[in-house]
Symmetry: C2
Subunit: 198 residues, 2 copies
Amino acid sequence: MARTQGSHSDITGPRIRKAALALFARHGYAAVSMRQIAAEVGVQAGALYNYTPDKQSLLYRLMSDHMQDLLTAYDALDPAGDAIEALRRFVGFHIRFHLQRPDEVFIAYMELRNLTPENFAEIEALRRSYEDSLETILQDGQRVGQFDIADTKIATLAVIAMLNGVMTWYRAGGRLSLDEVERIYWDMVRRSVSARGE
Amino acid sequence: MARTQGSHSDITGPRIRKAALALFARHGYAAVSMRQIAAEVGVQAGALYNYTPDKQSLLYRLMSDHMQDLLTAYDALDPAGDAIEALRRFVGFHIRFHLQRPDEVFIAYMELRNLTPENFAEIEALRRSYEDSLETILQDGQRVGQFDIADTKIATLAVIAMLNGVMTWYRAGGRLSLDEVERIYWDMVRRSVSARGE
DNA sequence: GTTCTATCTGAACATCTGTTCAGATATTGT
DNA sequence: ACAATATCTGAACAGATGTTCAGATAGAAC
């Protein structure tokens, strides 16, 4: 046998990335073999190398695509009037965007150490860019007195860590709706950085 | 050659666990081989099996010991007067305990999926027990009106997620002292759950 | 000093790893 | 109908994997 019926790169390519995404998320990059990915797609391991130069690039591609999507989606948000409104939108966006992509989020966080130094630096720069968006909001609110924050850098990381926590327990169809989750988190975030009276 | 000079299980056993801890934390459980661990200790791979029935048990032992230490240390804290004081002590304890054991913390969080289902259940129960300590504090404060919390379960997870964030960036000798870090986080945690006026 | 036991070596095992590539077949373009 | 190209197979590669075990030596007990 050789080329199979119906084979096409526009179909196989995405299927490979989808299979790799699911397997990396569940078992971890190092624990997943190229043969497992190929089996999930219904193809031999050698065929994967028509779509990626190596296993490492497959991981990098998944993480890079995810971060690009994140930044693009965030940039597409309507501009907010003031810092409090901007923070509220950030919280809602972050929660909803990430809950829609649990596998991507998990990989982007857990597999950083399996990137080569060059790939790591690129992904890290994208993440930093996203974090800077939040820090800018906090700085703006701090400047005009809407927020009362001891250290905006730490507050940025603390808020993101807090929001990321939702990924570890939220399941669609559970006790709380997405709206309720967003409201509860927004309430806690707002109070953790707000000046009295705001 | 066979038994080597100075060999003793009281020495080799801890050294194996220490080496495994460092390697698992840096490269991940799946990416570390028994031969790498053995090389770090200065021994052949076969010798490891005098100290662990298999690789999986080595991981489980590290995580179990860590969680036991955590619960023991927390239980040894002086009892607090009221809920706010208890929360303040929890924040300080959590930050300081975890910052002293970065490798253990990293493994306990990242390698859960590499545990067998039975081992996972045991570790998860220990973690749940620790989280319950915090939720009890939040519930107590909520009951007497010191806290204003929409959902104590979510608040518990949100606070722990927020505090865990400190592990990703804090480095001893950096811009902020441990006392400053503790004060900043305590300030944010307190405000995120406190009723007005408290 | 002799026996007993704890500790480690070194080799072996079956299997899995990422990756390469010649050759075969399906699809596309003419 | 034919030629060109895209896609996949199947085998092969060198090396790594977790684990076992007979045999050898060091330390402990008497």
